[in-house]
């Protein structure tokens, strides 16, 4: 609750850079993620936006829901176009403007991965944000490599649920030796705002992945989107941590803990999972949490 109050103050005290009238669905985590991120980043921010839900949420010509400059870009190009914008701003002497690539999981894990890897290897001075709703939600719920094991989507339908675990995007980013990698959640707004503020103080490629619920895609009640997403952290499937210059720190240790089964059972997309699959997700989660603890202990 304390966290909520602090983040809320951030939103009230700073200018809200998100205008009313977003074309998002009710309970959209991506919309909330933007509101929180921009509260932390402030108005001297430029967004590079590939094809994504946000390309729609922001509104169509001649309107924009954001009070900052935004450029829409081909799906695969968010990270590299952002580094081009950075180079352009540097040439113009605009050193204090932050360039943010704002992509969904498709534009990060899948089609955007090559350009992101290139930018990260060059340590391009950009903040890459993945708002992860765990599937191609804009096109109507198709599986991506960020879709979790056991999820129903229109391309992993009944009888052919996704069998593979989601890609570990943070490890991929860390293998590029970038200065800042973090996970964040719309259900922990104060932690999210703090991470964006920290990222803003660091130069080089910074990566933040925000777990952003999609009520239609996750088959959840939009009123419960934040609550269900909080359970992702409470059950350990989505731990909140950051890695600064290779040093790992868990930033939120949830007081309430729930089993993975409860998180899965709260969502329609997992309703066809067998007990066996749920158990394997639980043990996969346990192994990853142990890895994280060890990484933190080493740091």
């Amino acid at each position: 609750m304390q966290e909520l109050i602090k983040a809320h103050r951030e939103l009230v005290e700073n200018e809200d850079l998100v205008l009313p009238g977003l074309q998002s669905c009710q309970g959209c985590g991506a919309a909330l993620a933007m509101k929180l991120a921009l509260a932390a980043l402030g108005p001297r921010t430029i967004l590079a936006m590939p094809a994504s839900c946000w390309g729609v949420i922001i509104g169509g010509y001649p309107y924009s829901a954001l009070k900052i400059p935004v450029v829409h870009l081909p799906f695969a190009t968010a990270a590299v176009a952002a580094s081009g914008i950075r180079a352009g701003l540097d040439a113009r002497g605009e050193k204090d403007v932050e360039v943010v690539a704002w992509a969904g999981d498709g534009g990060t894990y899948d089609i955007g991965l090559q350009a992101l890897s290139g930018a990260a290897e060059r340590n391009a001075d950009i903040l890459f944000v993945c708002y992860d709703n765990e599937a191609y939600m804009n096109t109507g719920i198709q599986r991506s490599s960020a879709t979790p094991m056991g999820a129903w989507t229109t391309t992993t339908p009944s009888g052919a649920l996704k069998q593979e675990p989601k890609k570990d995007m943070e490890k991929i980013m860390l293998s590029h030796y970038v200065p800042y990698v973090a996970t964040a959640s719309v259900s922990f707004p104060d932690d999210l705002v703090a991470k964006f503020k920290k990222a803003k103080t660091i130069r080089g490629t910074r990566f933040i992945r925000i777990l952003a619920p999609c009520p239609p895609g996750w088959r959840i009640d939009s009123a419960k989107a934040v609550k269900v997403t909080r359970m992702a952290t409470q059950c350990g499937i989505f731990p909140l941590y950051e890695v600064v210059d290779g040093k790992t720190r868990v930033t939120v240790r949830p007081r309430v803990k729930v089993p993975v089964r409860d998180y899965l059972a709260a969502q329609g997309r997992f309703s066809e999972m067998t007990d066996g699959m749920m158990e394997s997700v639980q043990s996969w989660t346990d192994v990853r949490l142990k890895d994280l603890e060890e990484a933190e202990a080493r740091s």
Partner: protein, 388 residues
């Protein structure tokens, strides 16, 4: 100052003289020495630019889409497969009205792998909204770089200049390299009408519905067509400063010509020799060099070709299932004449096969005697694998 330089170096010297601020490129034969020399120019401080060394051509063009949207003069160079990989972003750059200049070394497309001269790479990007300028010499390459930025930044339309692999990219010629100050006077710093500016936030390239899209595209089309009268004006200014003359096209000995050859790229040079020989034999043959190809200078082509009885288009490209791309475009342009010349199509020199002045003279002589309705596939070897 006169220097002996290769076509690729004419490009990198053009980048320096145009004071490009952001370059992004990915190496591909035969473009690579452009990338190398620009790296050297940056390292030596002779070019105050950031060179973003990306992991693909798709990213190279996307990087300069970013930097140009941020309001600075940007450049990329590629060839063949690289240009094809850029295809999506070519459309995006033109639709975003970004005056990027791209140098493309005309190289065949695979499979099989062929690194030699062929125009299919750039011609297959015909409809991406880029102005295309085909060059014949290293001097023309360098001068076209300077002209291209002036034109692009006037119209907010990107320009692709192209020249043949190896015949120009790796061949040294004498090039008069202008002084920086002269180029500065001709090409002022880029002062964009619109760019990413936190003081004046705007959104670029977002969703646009059926009620607006058509008008946006029509505007882009009309303003691209403006190149047909703007470019000659710019070339006039260029001539008054540098003494060298360029236009939308070039004609050679077309006065009283009964047959006019139409060529693009280095085949033009050997075609001049062929025309001289044929003229020496009393055959009334002339030449039209295709220079700007998008937008199509249809009126100017008609003016140049209307007096001839026969027009022979020589294409160093083959659009499978159609034939030579230039031939189709020339036919379409001449169709509006009341009594158009007969247009004959020849495909020659694919994948870097040499086309000599004797070849061109042979092509011309063939059409002086024949009235083929089908394209002439000049130099095609008989037998396997063609079975003809």
């Amino acid at each position: 100052m006169k220097q002996v330089i290769k076509g690729n170096h004419a490009v990198s010297q053009g980048v320096r003289l145009c004071r490009v601020q952001v370059v992004s490129a990915y190496p591909i034969t035969p473009q690579t020495s452009i990338v190398e020399e620009i790296s050297e120019l940056c390292a030596q401080g002779k070019l105050d630019a950031e060179f973003i060394k990306v992991e693909s051509e798709h990213s190279a063009l996307a990087a300069v889409v970013g930097s140009q949207t941020a309001g600075v003069r940007s450049f990329t160079a590629t060839s063949s497969q690289g240009l094809l990989l850029m295809h999506e972003v070519l459309h995006w750059a033109a639709g975003s009205r970004l005056p990027i200049v791209l140098a493309n070394v005309n190289r065949a497309v695979g499979p099989g792998w062929n690194i030699w001269a062929d125009q299919l790479d750039s011609l297959s990007q015909r409809d991406t909204g880029w102005i295309q300028i085909y060059c014949e010499s290293n001097q023309e390459v360098l001068d076209s770089m300077i002209l291209a930025y002036r034109l692009a930044e006037l119209l907010y339309v990107p320009v692709m200049l192209t020249y043949d692999a190896f015949f120009l990219s790796h061949t040294s010629e004498v090039v008069d390299v202008p002084e920086s100050g002269e180029v500065d006077a001709f090409l002022p710093p880029y002062d964009p009408l619109f760019f990413l500016d936190v003081e004046n936030p705007r959104m670029f390239g977002g969703m646009i519905g059926p009620e607006h899209y058509y008008e946006e595209r029509y505007k882009m089309h009309k303003e691209t067509l403006d190149a047909l009268f703007r470019f000659p004006e710019i070339c006039g200014d260029f001539k008054s400063r540098f003494g060298r003359s360029y236009d939308l096209l070039e004609t050679y000995r077309t006065e009283d010509a009964e047959m006019i050859l139409a060529t693009a790229g280095t085949i033009t040079s050997v075609s001049r020799l062929a025309v001289d020989r044929l003229r020496g034999e009393g055959k009334k043959v002339g030449l039209m060099k295709i220079r700007m190809f998008r937008p199509v200078p249809a009126e100017q082509w008609r003016k140049a070709l209307a007096g001839a009885r026969k027009v022979v288009v020589i294409d160093r490209n083959l659009s499978s299932g159609h034939g030579g791309v230039f031939a189709g475009e020339v036919k379409a342009a001449l169709y509006d004449l009341d009594r158009p010349p007969r247009v004959y199509s020849t495909v020659a020199g694919l994948g870097g096969r040499d086309v000599t002045s004797e070849d061109v003279a042979g092509i011309a002589e063939h059409f002086l005697e024949h009235d083929d309705k089908e394209p002439l596939y000049w130099g095609l070897k008989k037998g396997e694998p063609c079975r003809n």
